[in-house]
């Protein structure tokens, strides 16, 4: 699909691709733009430009994922995936950073509840974990940053509203030149508890 728009005196044609079908950034001159569909939650879309080496989001940041569909776990003491965010290869580059904001509610016993964010899927590295022992509404935010490398990251986190979580963040060594899922999970020590991921927002900064 070709999108054409008239800018000034000329006609600028911006070709449209999916993230998988886009051309190599090194095959095009610096400043060349493309439109990418299917990468962000529908109906969001994003333009990217090349610097001759990599593709960068136009505006240098992306609302990469967002949802306010509540996702709850109850009736189990196992860790449960409540959201999966596919991070496509090379969306995060050597110095990219990613803000992940999560809003939660919980109810039930005074047992320990644990929130985890993993990079690399359900079996991936826990880059942030927060624990609390009371029913509460709360927010846990974290920043995942690439250490001038595609294969080294660190995460720092904070929590607030109503109760302070004990938050531990960790380094990771995932290869961001390959697809890596961010997964958000919850686990309680009592099957009588419920934990709800009320919303999340993932922003990527070039």
């Amino acid at each position: 699909m070709i999108i054409a728009s008239r800018l000034g005196d000329g006609l600028t044609v911006i070709p449209s691709y999916t993230w998988a079908t886009k051309p190599s950034a090194s095959a095009l001159p610096a400043g060349y733009k493309i439109r990418v569909t299917g990468l962000l939650p529908s109906p969001l879309e994003q333009y990217f430009y090349t610097d001759g080496t990599n593709w960068y989001p136009d505006g240098n940041q992306i609302t990469y994922a967002r949802s306010a569909t509540s996702s709850t776990t109850t009736g189990t003491t196992s860790e449960v995936v409540l959201a999966t965010i596919p991070v496509k290869a090379l969306v995060m580059l050597h110095n990219s950073q990613c803000n992940i904001s999560t809003a939660w509610s919980s109810s039930g016993t005074a047992g320990t509840r644990t929130i985890r964010v993993r990079l690399g899927g359900a079996a991936g590295t826990v880059i942030c974990a927060g624990t609390l022992t009371a029913s509460a509404l709360h927010i846990m935010n974290m920043r995942l940053a690439c250490r001038n490398s595609l294969s080294s990251q660190y995460t720092r986190a904070e929590s607030f509203i109503n109760v302070t979580l004990s938050v531990v963040a960790a380094a990771s060594v995932l290869d961001m030149s390959a697809d890596q899922d961010i997964v958000i999970t919850a686990q309680s020590t009592s099957a009588a508890d419920s934990m709800t991921l009320e919303s999340y927002l993932v922003e990527v900064f070039a």
Partner: protein
């Protein structure tokens, strides 16, 4: 309302297929994921 089976990976429950984009609420009940869509009555456990 639809249900999505769960699988276990590394001891973690996850849905066997993607959650539909039109979901209003999702509840994992210890066995499977229940997906509530437009027109479904939301469970009491879900706010608003």
């Amino acid at each position: 309302m639809i249900t999505i089976a769960a699988e276990i990976q590394n001891g973690v429950f996850k849905p066997e297929s993607d959650i539909p984009s039109d979901a209003r609420a999702v509840v994992f009940n210890g066995v499977e994921y229940i997906v509530y869509q437009e027109g479904d009555n939301l469970p009491d456990i879900v706010e608003g």
